[in-house]
């Protein structure tokens, strides 16, 4: 090597080849310093410890959220010697490390997203109760998955659960969770609700649930979301962005479904209510019928009485008007040749006539 004389450019190229071969990817943990963003796109910073300081270069899309100097970061990247600007590591991914930094990063991000209105109560949509189809995003090997399904089965039946098996911690977790949420949202017939869940863990274990991209994807989901992270004091940002949060995976299953036993009781109440109502309804109808019948009876009776009275009056009138009545009062009917005579012009001298009186007939002769 000592006999080889290189141009500066060749030296840089050779060094980069060597670096690429020896360290295609390195992961470095250190304290963030000189953090700055250029043109809203490029990110420059250093990672340092007590004795060393290394430059890094990346894009804003790789940021886990707002950062500030002093935070502890774990950065994966490719070491590279730039022809003009010297040595730096090109960032592939970066995440906050350590309890303090994670909390601080989450607080900064929370403030930023809250200011944008991502956590506003007005954005919260109601969840279907109970849903017929659920998109479940969790690790199939986790206790969270087992708990959720167990409680769901205890409480309710008939739910179709579609499981997106993802890692819920570690570097690949945010990307997998985001792709799962997007997968469900792009379905022609998406499920009615998305459940994103995992059990409790350290701040680092739960970091995926507080990254900016995951939080934004939860907030942007067209499908209503339920996010549950087990037994935590701090609420993850994904939970804040969700339409509803649950305290544990079991609690998520509880919030989604009624309890079968209560539902049986409720249905029994309905059965009772229906019976009572129909009985009342029929009783009322029947009492209305009885009232109508008696009203009808009364009306008919009145009509009959009226008719009777009319008949009596008519009979009296007829009696009053009959010839017999006139005869009994002393009138007589005069008949000549069998016909009643009502005028003297009908009579001649010496004509025989017949007189009908009250109690019999008599013959007579007309004179003059």
């Amino acid at each position: 090597m000592k006999d080889v004389i290189l141009s500066v450019s060749d030296f840089v190229a050779l060094l980069n080849q060597t670096l690429e071969f020896a360290y295609p990817s390195v992961t470095v943990v250190g304290e963030l310093a000189n953090f700055r963003v250029s043109k809203n796109r490029w990110v420059y910073f250093d990672l340092k410890d007590e004795t060393a300081n290394v430059k890094f270069f990346g894009t804003v899309y790789q940021l886990p959220g707002p950062l500030e100097d002093g935070m502890t970061l774990q950065v994966r990247g490719t070491p590279r010697l730039h022809p003009q600007y010297g040595f730096s590591v090109t960032v592939q991914s970066m995440q906050p490390m350590g309890e303090g930094t994670i909390r601080r990063a989450a607080a900064l991000l929370e403030a930023k997203l809250a200011a944008e209105g991502l956590f506003d109560v007005e954005r919260k949509r109601p969840l279907p109760y109970p849903p017929a189809r659920v998109g479940l995003i969790t690790s199939s090997e986790s206790a969270a998955y087992a708990d959720f399904v167990k409680i769901l089965n205890e409480r309710w039946g008939g739910v179709a659960v579609e499981l997106a098996d993802v890692q819920v911690q570690g570097e690949p977790a945010p990307g997998q969770i985001i792709r799962a949420i997007e997968y469900f949202n792009q379905m022609a017939e998406p499920p009615e609700v998305l459940v994103l869940t995992r059990g409790g863990g350290s701040a680092e274990d739960l970091a995926a649930f507080s990254t900016e991209h995951v939080t934004r994807t939860v907030a942007a989901s067209r499908i209503p979301t339920l996010v549950a992270v087990g037994h935590e004091v701090d609420t993850s940002l994904a939970e804040l962005a969700a339409d509803q949060r649950a305290s544990t995976p079991s609690n998520a299953a509880q919030l989604l479904t009624p309890d079968k036993r209560h539902e049986f009781e409720r249905l029994a109440d309905y059965r009772q209510g229906l019976s009572t109502s129909i009985t009342q309804n029929l009783q009322e109808a029947s009492s209305r019928y009885v009232e109508m019948m008696s009203a009808l009876d009364e009306a008919i009776k009145q009509r009959i009485d009226q008719a009777n009275q009319q008949l009596t009056a008519d009979r009296q009138l007829m009696v009053a008007l009959s010839p017999a009545a006139a005869l009994s009062r002393g009138y007589a009917i005069v008949r000549a040749e069998g016909r009643a005579v009502s005028s003297v012009s009908q009579l001649k001298n010496q004509q025989k006539i017949n007189l009908q009186l009250r109690d019999g007939d008599a013959a007579a002769i007309i004179r003059s």
Binding site: P130, W156, G158, A160, F264, L267, G273, L274, I278, L282
Partner: protein, 75 residues
Amino acid sequence: MTRSMNTNETKSVNYQTLSAELDELLSKLQSNDVDVDQAVALYERGMAIVKQLEAHLKTAENKVTKIKKQFGDAA
């Protein structure tokens, strides 16, 4: 056979919708605005829904399907 019947039943019963219909139907029946024929029809429909929902509670099972797609790599 039993399994596929359960699946069909699951699909046919939308618990939420039927439950809401039952609620509406009962308050209509209680309102006294209905004549006897309507009341009897409401009662019969209500009882049929109650039976259907009870059967659903007794027999329906949850079904978990794991999505084949891998979420490990950006696709």
